[in-house]
Symmetry: C2
Subunit: 545 residues, 2 copies
C-alpha cells in the first residue's frame, strides 16, 4: 500500500478544532513542549545549531511573501519551525553567551508564560484585565518603593488611586525612557493662562508661549541610543540631546555638565531634563546621581535616571549604595527583563510624584473614562499583555534576598573576570566593572608597551589595527558558536579620548561559571594567535615607523 501524505484542508470543522481541541501530548508540538518543560537547556543545546550559518543562507528559508493558500497541520509546521527557525535562533540563555543582556530564566517563568497567554488579558482597561490592574499597580508600587522608599501611608494613599499612578508598565526600557521624557516635556510646557499646554497645542506654540528658543536634554556620552530616539519622536530633535564628556571611569564629568547647563541658559535654550545613567549599556557605569540631582534642582529641570540595567541593584543591600541619589530623580526607568530575570517584554518607569502622569493622561468614550482606574489612560502603549504577573511572581518566589544573591554573584563574577584579564599580559582591561559589565581587548604585551611611549599619531595607527583584531576575534568566536561576547566602540581617555573597539561582557547569567570565563579567554587567545599570522607584518611596519 502506498503511503499517502496527509494534506490539511481549511474547513469549518478543521477551524473549529484548532480553537477547541488541545494539542495531544504525543503530537510533535506536545513532545517539544514536554522536552522544553523537562530540560530547556538540553532542548536548546540539541536543537540550535552551534556553528553559524550565513544570514543570507537563512534568509532563503524566509523568502516567500505570499500568505499560504494551503494550511499546514500543526505537527508539520512544528517540524518546519524546528528545522528552519529554532535551529538557527540564538541560545541567549547559554552560560557562555555573555555578550548581551539576556540570561537564563527561572523555570517557573515557562508555565507562567503559557498561563499568561491562556488568560490573554489586556491591561489597557479593567474590563479586560480586572485583578491584573491592581496587580500591575502593586508591582509599580513595589518598584517605586524600591527606588523612593516612601512609607506605608504614601503607598496606601497613591498606589490604587484612580487619578494617580506611581509609574507606567511597558514593553521595555526604550518606551519607559520615552514616557519619562514625554512627562518631562509636558510638565515643563504645561498650560498657563491662555496657553493650554504642549499636549494640546504642540511644541511650536509652547516654545513661543514660554519664550524659549529651544529645549534640550543633557546626558553623558554613554547614554543609551533610546534617548536620542525619544528626542526625535518628541519633536525636540536628536541634536538637542547633548552628550556630556565622561571621566576615565565612564561617569559624567560634572564640570562639563555644569558648563553645558550654563551655556544653554546663556543661549536661551531651556534645559528640559538631565538624564543620569545607573548602569551604562556599554560599561555598566553609574553616574554621580546625587550631584546631578543638585544641578537639576538648580536649573529647575526634570531629573531622569535611566536604570534600565542597574535598577535591580537596589535589591542588594550590599550594593544599593552604588546608586545613591536615585531617590532624588523625578523618574526612573527599570527593565524587569534584564536583571530581574523576567522574559523579554517587561519594562517600566516610576515617578517620584504620583501626579506626574497627569501630564500625559488621555481618555476615550468606550474605555479610559475619567475616574476609571484603567491603566491605559497614562501609558504610551494601548493594548498590553499581563507581563506584570511575571514580575510579581518573580518578586514573590525569588524575594528580595534572593535577588540580592543574584546581583551580588554577578558583580563578584565580573570582578573575577576583570582580575583574570588583568593577570593576562596580552589583554587590556578597558573599563573596570562597577556592576557586572566590563570591556577589554586583546593587545599583545609588546604593543601595550609601545602604546605607552608612542605619539598621538602612532597610537591612532596602532589602535586602528587593534580595532581590526578585536572585530576579527569577536566575529570568529561568535561564528564558532561555543561562546559569545559582544563588541562596541568607546572613547578611552588615555588614547586621547578617541574611540577604540572593545569586547563587551555582561555577566548576569547565574549559570555562567568561572571555568566558562577561563575558557572564553583561552579561546580568544587562540583566535588572536590565528589572526596574528597575517597581522604582524602590518604591525611591525607601524612599530618600526
Amino acid at each position: 500500500m502506498i503511503h499517502k501524505k496527509r494534506q490539511a484542508q481549511a474547513t469549518p470543522e478543521s477551524l473549529h478544532q484548532i480553537f477547541t481541541i488541545p494539542e495531544a501530548p504525543d503530537s510533535t508540538l506536545g513532545r517539544i513542549e514536554a522536552e522544553i518543560s523537562q530540560n530547556l537547556n538540553g532542548f536548546l543545546a540539541n536543537h540550535i545549531v552551534a556553528t553559524e550559518k550565513p544570514l543570507a543562507e537563512i534568509e532563503k528559508d524566509f523568502a516567500d511573501s505570499k500568505i499560504p493558500e494551503q494550511p499546514q497541520y500543526v505537527s508539520d509546521h512544528t517540524h518546519h519551525l524546528l528545522d528552519k527557525l529554532i535551529s538557527q535562533s540564538v541560545h541567549t540563555s547559554a552560560p557562555s553567551f555573555i555578550g548581551h543582556m539576556t540570561s537564563a530564566l527561572p523555570y517557573f517563568q515557562l508555565p507562567l508564560s503559557k498561563l499568561m497567554t491562556g488568560l490573554n488579558q489586556n491591561l489597557v482597561k479593567i474590563e479586560t484585565s480586572k485583578a491584573f490592574t491592581p496587580l500591575e499597580r502593586q508591582v509599580l508600587g513595589m518598584m517605586h518603593r524600591m527606588v523612593y522608599q516612601q512609607n506605608d501611608g504614601f503607598y496606601q494613599q497613591w498606589m490604587h488611586s484612580a487619578e494617580h499612578s506611581l509609574g507606567a508598565f511597558c514593553s521595555g526600557g526604550t518606551v519607559a525612557n520615552i514616557t519619562a521624557l514625554w512627562v518631562a516635556r509636558n510638565t515643563l510646557l504645561k498650560p498657563e493662562g491662555e496657553f493650554t499646554g504642549v499636549a494640546k497645542q504642540g511644541l511650536v506654540k509652547a516654545l513661543k508661549h514660554y519664550g524659549y528658543d529651544d529645549i534640550a536634554i543633557l546626558v553623558s556620552e554613554r547614554g543609551h541610543y533610546s534617548l536620542k530616539k525619544a528626542a526625535d519622536i518628541l519633536g525636540i530633535g536628536r541634536d538637542n540631546v547633548i552628550a556630556v564628556k565622561t571621566d576615565t571611569n565612564n561617569r559624567i564629568n560634572l564640570s562639563a555638565l555644569k558648563a553645558e547647563c550654563k551655556r544653554l541658559k546663556d543661549n536661551n535654550i531651556k534645559l528640559m531634563a538631565i538624564v543620569g545613567i545607573a548602569g551604562t549599556t556599554e560599561t555598566g557605569s553609574i553616574d554621580p546621581l546625587t550631584e546631578m540631582a543638585e544641578i537639576a534642582k538648580q536649573y529647575q529641570c526634570h531629573f531622569h535616571v535611566d536604570a534600565a540595567w542597574g535598577g535591580a541593584t537596589l535589591l542588594s543591600n550590599k550594593y544599593r549604595s552604588l546608586l545613591a541619589g536615585i531617590e532624588l530623580a523625578d523618574s526612573v526607568t527599570i527593565d524587569a527583563h534584564k536583571q530581574m530575570y523576567v522574559p523579554m517584554g517587561a519594562g517600566l518607569v516610576v515617578f517620584k510624584n504620583p501626579e506626574s502622569v497627569a501630564a500625559i493622561e488621555h481618555h476615550a468614550e468606550y474605555i479610559l473614562r475619567k475616574g476609571s482606574k484603567d491603566l491605559g489612560s497614562h501609558t504610551l502603549e494601548g493594548s498590553r499583555p499581563g507581563m506584570a504577573m511575571m514580575v510579581y511572581a518573580s518578586m514573590h518566589i525569588i524575594s528580595r534576598p534572593g535577588y540580592e544573591m543574584l546581583i551580588n554573584q554577578s558583580i563578584d563574577k565580573a570582578k573575577y573576570f576583570a582580575d583574570l584579564i588583568d593577570c593576562e599580559a596580552d589583554f587590556e582591561l578597558v573599563s573596570k566593572p562597577e556592576l557586572c559589565l566590563l570591556t577589554y581587548r586583546y593587545v599583545p604585551q609588546v604593543v601595550q608597551q609601545y602604546l605607552q611611549t608612542a605619539n598621538s599619531q602612532q597610537r591612532s595607527e596602532i589602535n586602528d589595527l587593534l580595532d581590526q583584531l578585536t572585530r576579527f576575534i569577536q566575529k570568529r568566536q561568535r561564528e564558532s558558536g561555543k561562546s559569545f561576547v559582544s563588541r562596541t566602540r568607546i572613547e578611552v581617555e588615555k588614547y586621547d579620548g578617541s574611540k577604540v573597539s572593545v569586547f563587551r561582557v555582561v555577566l548576569a547569567n547565574p549559570l555562567t561559571t568561572n571555568e566558562i570565563l577561563d575558557e572564553i579567554l583561552k579561546e580568544q587567545k587562540l583566535l588572536a594567535a590565528e589572526s596574528l599570522q597575517f597581522l604582524p607584518q602590518v604591525l611591525s611596519k607601524v612599530l618600526k615607523s
Copy 2:
C-alpha cells in the same frame, strides 16, 4: 505529629535550582499547566469567579508595597495566584464575552508561547535573534503583500534589504500608529539645504525652515484615541488632530474633509497626514479610502490607514473589496492580536515605500550598526520578544482560506445579530455592521415612537434617560458574569448629531453561537424590565410634558 509548614529560604542552592530544575509535572504549577493544555476553557470556567467582586475588594489583595523578604515556594505562590489573581481575572475568550476585541485563541498558540519564552530572543538585533530577524521580515513582507499586492520581484528586492524595511513590527496598534505618523512627520519635514531635518533639529526649527505656522492631521470623529496620543507625543499637539464629521454610516464626510483641507491651507497650516479608518473601534465602519487617497494626493500629504481592526478582512476574497483603496495608503496599521487570533502584543505597520523607514532610522555603536539588518534600527521600541513567530505560525497553520472563513463567519454573525435586534420591537440598532461590530440600545417601542415626533429638547431629555438605562443594563449584565457587551457614546445623526450611549458588540470569537446571541438579548430584556420599575415615572413625566 504536628505538621510543620515548610518555609522557603533564599540560598545559593535554592536559587540555582529555580534556574536548573524544571517544575515537576505533579507540582501545583505543573498540574495547572496540564489542565490549561488539556482544557483551557474548562480551566478558565472553573477558576474565574463569574459574579463580579468590587474592585476595591480586589485591591485589598494587592495592597502591599514591600518586595517580599521571604521567598515563596513555586507551588505556594501558584495557589496564591489561582486564589487571588486568576479567580478575579476576565474570561476574555468566553464565547459570551462579546464586548471587546479579545477572542478565543487557537490551541497551538499556548505551547508556542512557551517555546517563545524558552527561546527568549530579542528582536532588536540579529545577535540575539538570528533567524527570527528574517522571519519577522518575512511576516512584514506577507502583510505588505496582503495590503499592496506587489509582485514577486518587488519582495525579492526589498524584503531582506538591509537599508530598507517594508514595515515595523511592534506591540500593538497604538505604537504602529505613532510609528506611521512619526515617519510622516519626519518625511514632511525632511532635511533641505542647511536644515538637517526635524529628526535632528526638532519641530520648532523645522516649521520655521519650511515656513508653516503649524501642522495638522485629519481623521474622522470615529478615529482611535491613539491618534491624539500620537500627536501629543510627536509634539504636534492633540488639538491639531482635527475630527471631521461622519455621515449616518459612520464614515468620514468627504465634503467636510475637503473643506477642512482648504481651511488649513488658507491658514498656512500644513496638512501632515490624512488618516482613513478601516474598521472604526466603536462601529467597525470603513472610510471611503479611494476618495481620501485622492484628496491626500491633491494636498501632497501622507495618507495613513488605521486598519488595526479591519486589516485582516483583506484575507477574505469575499470581503476584501470593502477596503478598496487601502493599497493607495502610504502606511497601514494592522493588529495581529485582533482578527488574526494571535495573543496580546502583536501589532505592525507596513509602508508602501520600502525607503520610508529611513526617516526614523537610528544607529548605535554596539548594535544597529550601519548596514546591519538589525530590526531595531527603525522601530519605536528597543528590545522586543519574538511575537512575529506567533503570526508566522498562524498564517501557515490557518492559511489564507482559513482566515477567510473566520472573517466571513464573523461578519455573517454580526448580520444575524443585527437582524435579531431589528426584529425586537424594544431595541434600536444604532449602527449596522459593515464588519463584525455593531451598536444598539434598548428603547421601549412607545419611546421610539415618541422620539420620532418629539422636538429637539424633548429628544435630548429622553436620550439622557435612555443613556442611564443603557449604562444600568450594561453594568448589571457585566456584574452578573454570564455575558459581556461594552458600551460607548457616539454621535447619532437622527438625534441632531448628539452623543448617545449604546451597547457595543464585537463578534470575532469563532465560538460565539447564534444561541448565545439570543440569550444575551433575552438577558438584556430582563434587566431592562427590572430597571423600568423605577424608570417609568421619570419617563412618563417626560412623555407627558
